[in-house]
Symmetry: C2
Amino acid sequence: MSNGKHLAKGSTAPVLPDDGKLVLYSMRFCPYAQRVHLMLDAKKIPYHTVYINLSEKPEWYFEKNPLGKVPALQVPGKEGVTLYESLVLADYIEEAYSAQQRKLYPIDPFRKAQDRILIERFNGVITAYYRILFSTDGIPPGAITEFGIALDVFEKELKSRGTAYFGGDKPGMIDYMIWPWCERVDLLKFALGDKYELDKERFGKLLQWRDLMEKDEAVKQSFISTENHTKFLQSRKNGENNYDILA
Amino acid sequence: MSNGKHLAKGSTAPVLPDDGKLVLYSMRFCPYAQRVHLMLDAKKIPYHTVYINLSEKPEWYFEKNPLGKVPALQVPGKEGVTLYESLVLADYIEEAYSAQQRKLYPIDPFRKAQDRILIERFNGVITAYYRILFSTDGIPPGAITEFGIALDVFEKELKSRGTAYFGGDKPGMIDYMIWPWCERVDLLKFALGDKYELDKERFGKLLQWRDLMEKDEAVKQSFISTENHTKFLQSRKNGENNYDILA
């Protein structure tokens, strides 16, 4: 992943080489965009990254994506329009590059559907996570309990699969789609004043999995330390939105 | 579709013939469940329907689906577990029955992704629709405008595709996934006291499409008249939840 700066209002659209590569519009700290980086990196698909300043969006970006959202993917030969929505992109990449690249979903439609249900259910973890992280008036009652219960589903699933990763002996679609928030889980200490740590017994399998995931080649490419995530979060909370901390 | 009654708390799980058919757990007025009926009916895949009383869920149902949600699909040979989430089911059915049955998604992954984005964007219509329908203290400001703007996207898309249906000369995945709320659009009159009608100019293409859709064989099989939808809505608003109006 490049260490480019985030393009803002008043910028001009970057001119990229006509080399047949995908272009991913991203934001360095966006977990949804990270999902797509992870997939492309896991499949070793070459691509350009253009970082977008989401609080001061470039005017030209709305021509690429009318909703102004990231992640968005521009496919060679389809320059007038981007694809967006992280899970739609995940499915697109899986299908469009299925012939040559490593598959992330099981081939069997039933098992694939079970994986997709789990990815949907991870929204429960995400919702509780943000309720805690962006609470302004004390932690909402029940949010920590809710977070734990939503995460229990994944601990239980990993145990019942009996494999190192949700995808088996290598990370698969579930692993990469839930990873961005797992990378950020220690940020909860920021909101909870060092009071929060994942219980080592309750989440034993997930903690082992997290250690393994941190060593994965694709994960390493977009990995950001808790220290840097915290810096960005602080800049976001005080309204500075310092997207370029790492640039 | 059968005209069975909705099974409630205290009921016993129905014993179905061992005939290799899918079993769809449904609720007669649930638009998300209707999505799955539409797909199965369009693909002419035989299935059993078991209706679930959602306000008094049968105890046995939680063994079928731990979340107690409908729609849920039981696949022959996989009796211990159901698949759920309407869009996951849609993808599963499309993939598992792709060899023999009519395809509802385009084969090209790029065009398929574009269709999936539109289905995601229809959530904007759904959200605004329920904000109007279930408002208790007057219509929330902006909700009607929001509903119209979200629907504009679909009018514009149908115009730009230049086809009778989103799927081309036959209904495809978008058509069936958005249909349940389009069938129910005149229910807005219930909330708005006869003041709401889709503007014939602004939504000209969609209104033509709606007339065509009503004649579709798959749509006819789960179709409920506005009159009956209204009866159910009234029963829901006054806390009776009369699921069996049509049984």
